[in-house]
Symmetry: C2
Subunit: 190 residues, 2 copies
C-alpha cells in the first residue's frame, strides 16, 4: 500500500498538495482560521441578489478570486414571488450536496480510491404553516433533509460507504445543518 505522503493526484485532487496543506496547518494552526462572506441587496419583492468573492484564510485576505460570484434568490409564483431564481431554502440543499461530495472526493483521493461517479439528490420537506404564522406547532424550517448518493469507484461497496461516512463526519455544512450555529443580526436604519 502506498504511503499517504507519496500518493499521486487522484480524482482531480492534488493529493500531495492536500497532504502538504495538512502538514502546514499542523505546524501553524492559526492558518486554519477562515472567514467567508456574502453581500446581498434587495431587488424587488422577494427577489434579491448576493455577491460572493473575498474571504480571509491561511493568514491573509484572498487575492485569487478576482471576480464576483453572483446568485439571485426569489420565491416562486405560488409563494407570491416571480420565480426568477430558487428559494433561499433550496440553496441549503445545494450546499449540503456540494460539501459532502467535495469531501467524498478528497477522502477517496487520500485513501487511494479512484472514483468514476458521485451523484446525489437532496430532498427537503417543509410545512409552510410555520413561516406563514398559521401554526405554533410547526417549525419554520425544514422538518428533515434526505441526501441520496450514487457512487461508483474502484473499491468494494463497504470501502465506498466508509468514504461517504468519513465525509459526513468532517463536513462543515452537515455540522451546521444538523447542529445549528449562532446567528447574530445587526440592523442599521436610514
Amino acid at each position: 500500500m502506498t504511503s499517504t505522503t507519496t500518493r499521486p493526484p487522484l480524482n482531480g485532487v492534488d493529493t500531495p498538495t492536500l497532504f502538504a496543506t495538512l502538514d502546514a496547518v499542523k505546524a501553524s494552526p492559526e492558518l486554519a482560521k477562515f472567514q467567508f462572506r456574502a453581500a446581498n441587496r434587495w431587488i424587488s419583492g422577494t427577489h434579491n441578489r448576493s455577491t460572493i468573492r473575498g474571504f480571509f484564510g491561511a493568514g491573509q485576505e484572498d487575492s485569487t478570486r478576482t471576480d464576483d460570484f453572483t446568485y439571485d434568490a426569489d420565491h416562486p409564483a405560488v409563494l407570491v414571488g416571480t420565480g426568477t431564481a430558487p428559494t433561499p431554502v433550496e440553496f441549503l440543499l445545494h450546499a449540503i450536496a456540494a460539501c459532502l461530495t467535495a469531501g467524498i472526493v478528497n477522502v477517496a483521493a487520500a485513501r487511494g480510491v479512484a472514483l468514476r461517479e458521485v451523484s446525489s439528490t437532496v430532498e427537503g420537506d417543509i410545512d409552510l404553516l410555520g413561516i406563514l404564522g398559521l401554526s405554533k406547532d410547526v417549525r419554520n424550517g425544514y422538518q428533515g433533509i434526505k441526501v441520496s448518493f450514487q457512487i461508483d469507484g474502484d473499491a468494494p461497496d463497504e470501502v465506498l460507504r466508509g468514504i461517504v461516512e468519513q465525509s459526513r463526519a468532517r463536513s462543515a455544512v452537515y455540522d451546521v445543518l444538523t447542529n445549528g450555529v449562532p446567528v447574530s443580526i445587526d440592523v442599521a436604519t436610514g
Copy 2:
C-alpha cells in the same frame, strides 16, 4: 390605517395575493406541505454542480419553473480546489441573507411600510482545524454567523427594526441554521 385585507401592492409584493394565499392555506392547511429538491454531480476534485428546478407544493408538482437553475461549488486554490465557484459554506451565507431579506420585504408590505433599501453583509467564521481532523475540540462548521442589515424605508427606526425582527422570527433558513435539522444520508454503490 388601511385594513390589511385591502392593502395595495407595495415593495414589489403583490400584497392582496399574499393575504389571499394566507386565507387559502388557512382553509386548506395541506396546501402548506412543500418539498424542495436539488441534484448534484461531481465534476473533478472539489468541483461539483447542482441543478434545481422541480418542487412539490400547494398540492401539486410545480410546472411554472421550466428551466434548471445550475450552481457550481468548489474549493479555492488555498484549499486544494480550482476556485471556479464559491465553497459550499458560502452558499449558506447567501441563503440566510436571501431568506431574511425576502421576509423583511414581505412583512413591510403587509404592514404598509414602503422600503427604499435592504442590503446586508454576512460573515461566517470557521476554524478548519475541525474539518481537517487536526483538533477534536473544534467543530467542523461555522462557529458563528453575523448578518448586518442596512435598511431604509418610510417608517421610524423602531418600526424598521420590528420588521427585521418579525422576519427573523419567521425565517426558514434562520430556523434551520440556528436550530439544526435532521439530515439522513443514503448510499447506493456501483
